[in-house]
Symmetry: C2
Subunit: 151 residues, 2 copies
């Protein structure tokens, strides 16, 4: 059933389905919390130890070129991937590094604001919020109290 939808996703984007591509797509469909190439590679290695890192990168590039996946450059430490390709924003916690989806209303479908280079072709828009997530914010406040208490 899952492999079925991986299959559908690949075919829908004109990508020839191979075992490896189905596995990568399947992983992305099951793990929608923006995995990295390395997370995918590690997970796949457990299942089929002959999977190669190069294949993961090749496949992710292929998926991205064909619009089956979106690349997210938010965290300087990581490049993340998302099968959720409809326009949406992200909230990035620079403490724990987690990346949350955010509904962006129509902000992202706004016709490009003035100031874009004259005659350019806009292909995508990304909107990212950065800050501290509730958990890290709470932890930080707790820590600063503790520091006051035990200097």
């Amino acid at each position: 059933m899952l492999s079925q939808s991986s299959y559908a996703a690949l075919v829908a984007h004109g990508i020839k389905p191979t075992v490896q591509r189905l596995a990568v797509m399947g992983y992305l469909l099951e793990h929608r919390c923006h995995p990295t190439a390395d997370e995918i590679y590690t997970a796949m290695s457990r299942v089929l130890p002959t999977f190669s890192k190069a294949t993961v990168y090749n496949t992710l590039s292929l998926l991205e070129e064909n619009g089956a996946v979106v690349r997210i450059l938010v965290d300087e430490r990581r490049t993340c991937y998302d099968v959720h390709t409809a326009p949406h924003a992200h909230f990035y916690c620079h403490q724990c590094g987690r990346l949350h989806d955010v509904q962006a209303g129509d902000t992202l479908s706004l016709p490009a604001v003035g100031g874009l280079p004259e005659g350019s072709r806009v292909e995508s828009v990304s909107l990212t919020y950065r800050g501290l997530c509730p958990e890290c914010l709470a932890r930080q406040q707790a820590d600063s109290h503790a520091t006051f208490a035990n200097p």
Copy 2:
């Protein structure tokens, strides 16, 4: 006069001005087209060959932590820096890699749209457009014509 404003910029952000920091800040003030750490390092090496890569990275981190500079993660190949810290958007051409400033109107000062994690603290917002700049768009169209003419 330029070193004067580098000086002012550092002091304004509570950063102790050293020769190296003044040089990095000076470079950023003169080159507002989003240089990378490596570009800064190369340029500085020419002037003072004992400048170290580590110093460039240390200095850029320091400047960023103190809000004197903004880090831009748009191009998977590069991390760029910008002294233009007031909220503004960017247009990134994925062909030539150039990064243009874009006036974003009040989009960026919008109170965060619904859907942000409850109780989180937003510290910054970034809005990026991707696509082809006028030059690359024209070149691409010219190329495809050429291909048609001489297969």
